[in-house]
């Protein structure tokens, strides 16, 4: 059973994205195939060089960079959203694949869940 978890909200505004990440890490910890898709404002999660110290939060950059180590199979960024936010491949964290999102893409997964 492969799962795709979609994060479509910008980082730091709420805990929903972080908790979606916990869901992905949990699946991976139990050896269940899981990937993450960032779309809409969610692609801002994938920017390099984040510093959340001034709002007393931990940067999620380190968590995301560790995702492959913890067994998350892939990090995808929606191409259209990247264009909208002016993000090129070089602006994004390593291991991120920019992809065209549609039924063909989501159809590759048994479960598709939104972050909240």
């Amino acid at each position: 059973m492969s799962t795709l978890i979609i994060i479509d909200q910008s980082p730091y505004g709420s805990w929903e994205g972080r908790e979606a990440l916990d869901m992905a890490f949990s699946l991976a910890a139990f050896d269940q195939p899981v990937s993450l898709l960032f779309c809409g404002a969610g692609v801002n999660w994938l920017r390099k060089g984040q510093d959340a110290g001034k709002i007393q939060q931990k940067s999620i950059e380190r968590n995301l960079a560790a995702a492959p180590v913890f067994g998350v199979e892939a990090l995808f960024a929606d191409r259209r959203a990247c264009d909208q936010y002016g993000l090129a491949g070089t602006d994004l964290l390593d291991h991120v694949s920019i992809t065209d999102v549609g039924p063909d893409f989501t159809g590759r997964f048994d479960h598709v869940a939104f972050a909240g």
Binding site: E19, D22, M23, S26, Q32, G116
Partner: protein
């Protein structure tokens, strides 16, 4: 109620089993109420619900301290009664719960807190409960806050 339901020829849950994940909080979202309506309809249609998992803001549903005015639906009470009557496990994610001040007695002692407020029959457990559903034949439905 079941008499008014159309006969189903196809089901989105091949095994006839649903897992409900509620992430929207009571009173600030419709999620717990919509989920309860769905749950009642599913049982009326002879489907099974193997687990209700509260995640994120949804954990507030398991509070024993909510006390809305007497002429309003007490969503926590209604859900607790439904789970008890139908012997369905209700699980609040421990990480979400601890962040939001929802604790059972064990966690109260562990973190030296002044009170516990988990309503029976809800339990506190890890995301592994949700993973168990995700790895099974169960169809998982998410009830988010929307908007």
């Amino acid at each position: 109620m079941s008499k008014s339901l159309p006969e189903q020829t196809r089901t989105p849950a091949p095994a006839g089993v649903f897992t409900l994940v509620i992430t929207g909080a009571p009173y600030s979202s419709q999620a717990p109420s919509t989920a309860l309506h769905f749950a009642r309809a599913a049982l009326a249609a002879n489907k099974r619900i193997d687990r209700v998992f509260l995640y994120g803001d949804g954990v507030h549903l398991a509070s024993s301290l909510s006390a809305p005015p007497s002429d309003e639906l007490n969503l926590s009470e209604a859900w607790a009664a439904f789970l008890t009557e139908n012997s369905i496990p209700g699980v609040a994610c421990i990480a979400s719960a601890l962040r939001r001040g929802l604790v059972n007695e064990a966690e109260m002692h562990r973190y030296e807190l002044s009170a516990s407020n988990l309503r029976e029959p809800f339990e506190i457990a890890g995301l592994g409960e949700w993973v168990d559903s995700a790895a099974s034949e169960s169809r998982i439905l998410y009830f988010h806050k929307g908007g």
